[in-house]
Symmetry: C2
Subunit: 401 residues, 2 copies
């Protein structure tokens, strides 16, 4: 049917709280699910729409156009997967917020969407003329992730010029409200619980894939949809995950990079632990990553640039002799997306602002040997210290092997 | 870290065969996993690249540009999630296939990608000038799902004009090779096994969410990543899934719409069964949907238009008195995407061709009462009958309640 896997993931994600019944994580005893914080009220979305209108006006736009994306979710509370059937928000700078959606989706979408009007199109109808008629003339700001062929079809149907409205959305989304920060904090709390439960399911001979499934189950047991990368020993030297077939051996590092969503807001936490007594190399590398992370966190405050915060951590790791082995940026913003602005990366001269939420995640990767990454989530404040959204580990954890 | 949930899903999807260990589906006894068919050889991707070049040349393009998407997978075998870090194929009409990718992803991507060259960019570098330099001048065909802001940044950096290349990819992808059809057939076979295993786990009082998880587990037990919608009784009247909290009661219909991927190729199968003796209404509606599906299948052959096939099924259902309750199109193409061209829908005047693979999935939805959909997958041949990729049910299945 009318079903894509992506759509289904979105649907089960959204409904996870309702669906979740406790079930045993593979071998781990996960704590029972606690209730999720209440969702944002409809007024929060109306306020966002007012702020989007103001930003669009400043940018000289007559309307914003957004298809399913985290920006659509941000603006309307509607969290659905994208499909070949057009669903789009038309947010008029001096007018209503209109959702255009397939006729047979209307009831489904009306349940969640915060909008002034819903306009439907029929299965055998081309929705683009419908959208064009509503838009009239005037420059239209296109949500940045919109598919290029959607814009091409819109341009052909409408008398309007498309403009990239990435900055309009990004500018607002970068600064998180206290409620948004609380969602990330709660997601991070559940992530750390899930990682700890997964640690209890480790045993020599188990594969990364088996443990990845135990991790998923540990999230599910908490009523949230989540998962992540599990890497043992030399696999952990790949910053984005290895092949997944390695079996755990005594002395391996175990790197788990995991996240989940609470009310749509993402956490992203990495823990590297030792399965059995670690080598001196592992201890030294861990200590360098740990010091690098602390240096990054200490540098994190409004007014500092992403480049400065990255440099603070990188310098510590370079001085320890592993500068070349820290192959990625220090961190990135997180919110409705797991990767969003602002980025803590060389070359980013934009000053951070209070309310930015970011990961701080230095790593050292030694190909053929092992890798260590420590990742925590922080909210930038006017002055240091930044507010920890996840509780960082005090020291290298050594598990009994 | 560098991890998005979507990326992780992609990764586990790709590695599912390797990772999968048999595990009991919630209450159901799923059969043990059988080996997957072998993947396509590298030469198959080189041949696709040659055909893409020819199509691009005909369209007057100097190169094609594709970021992570099923079209990138189709062209290069690289199946990764999209992120804010640019990975893109530049396929030159009269030149090489070049993958541009972040430095620290190179090793990961080289494992899978079929390309003539890999060019990397560093974490603190803007990749767009790199891409612009490679592209030179000349019209560039943009893969249709490319994010609008990527195209906007590319246009700003390059001296080239972007053009929508959706048709270039779509034209080739619509016609499936025998190997591609075999992948879909194998995915459909596993989907029907998963649905049947899930039926064995049904019990009064269970929620749709619990059964959806049993469905997932039944796929996992077969070494594939899959899932779907589970709807009981009145919930089944929503063609795209209801809220998921309903508990199963004797007399409910149980609608399961599920799919999985084999070597990247999708299946999409829906079964509606009765949990305990069905009402006469359910029997009559089921019979009408069944007849409608058969009429659609009979009409399916090269040369018929998508509109004609849709009409054949719709007419039967309308004559039975439920025309208004069949609220969506009859079906759509499936392949690397679960929804792709060609569409079996009113207004589609493009003739079908041998090798098109489509779903045939009529449904009748009676709000407040129940819904019935039957969905199977077919490959179009020069003459009817089309080749069944899934084995359609002979009659309404009534489960013991």
């Amino acid at each position: 049917m009318p079903l894509t896997r992506r759509r289904w993931m979105t649907a089960t994600g959204a409904a996870a709280a309702a669906l979740a019944a406790p079930r045993a994580a593979g071998g781990a005893s996960a704590p029972p699910p606690s209730p999720l914080p209440p969702p944002l009220p409809a007024d929060a979305f109306r306020e966002r729409q007012a702020r989007l209108r103001a930003a669009a006006r400043t940018a000289g736009l007559a309307a914003l156009f957004a298809t399913p994306s985290t920006n659509l979710t941000y603006a309307t509370n509607l969290s659905i997967g994208r499909s070949e059937r057009l669903t789009a928000l038309l947010l008029f700078t001096d007018g209503p917020a209109v959702l255009v959606t397939p006729f047979f989706e209307e009831e489904n979408h009306r349940r969640d969407v915060v909008a002034d009007d819903v306009v439907t199109w029929k299965e055998d109808e081309d929705p683009m003329p419908v959208v064009a008629r509503l838009l009239g003339s005037g420059p239209v700001g296109i949500e940045g992730s919109t598919a290029y062929d959607t814009v091409a079809r819109l341009s052909a149907a409408a008398s309007v010029g498309p403009r990239d409205a990435s900055d309009v959305f990004e500018g607002l989304r970068r600064v998180k409200s206290p409620q948004e920060q609380a969602f990330i904090r709660e997601a991070a709390r559940r992530t750390i619980l899930a990682i700890e439960a997964t640690h209890r399911s480790l045993a020599a001979g188990k594969t990364e894939g088996e443990i990845a499934r135990a991790l998923e189950a540990a999230f599910q047991a908490q009523g949230v949809s989540g998962g992540g990368l599990v890497q043992f020993g030399p696999s952990a030297a790949y910053p984005h995950g290895g092949p997944g077939e390695r079996r755990l051996a005594k002395g391996d590092v175990v790197l788990i990079d995991a996240g989940c969503k609470v009310r749509g807001y993402t956490s992203d936490v990495t823990r590297t632990v030792a399965f059995g007594p670690p080598s001196d190399d592992v201890r030294r590398v861990y200590a360098a990553v740990d010091r690098g992370q602390r240096a990054g966190i200490d540098a994190l405050r409004a007014g500092a640039t992403g480049a400065e915060v990255d440099r603070a951590a990188r310098q510590v790791i370079a001085e320890a002799g592993w500068g070349d082995a820290f192959t990625h940026r220090l961190g990135q913003g997180l919110g409705l997306d797991g990767h969003e602005s602002p980025y803590l990366v060389r070359g980013n001269a934009t000053p951070l602002a209070a309310g930015n939420t970011v990961t701080v995640e230095p790593g050292i990767y030694l190909p053929g040997k092992f890798g260590v990454r420590i990742e925590d989530d922080y909210a930038v404040r006017d002055a240091a210290p930044a507010a920890g959204l996840s509780v960082r580990p005090a020291e290298l954890v050594v598990l009994r092997a």
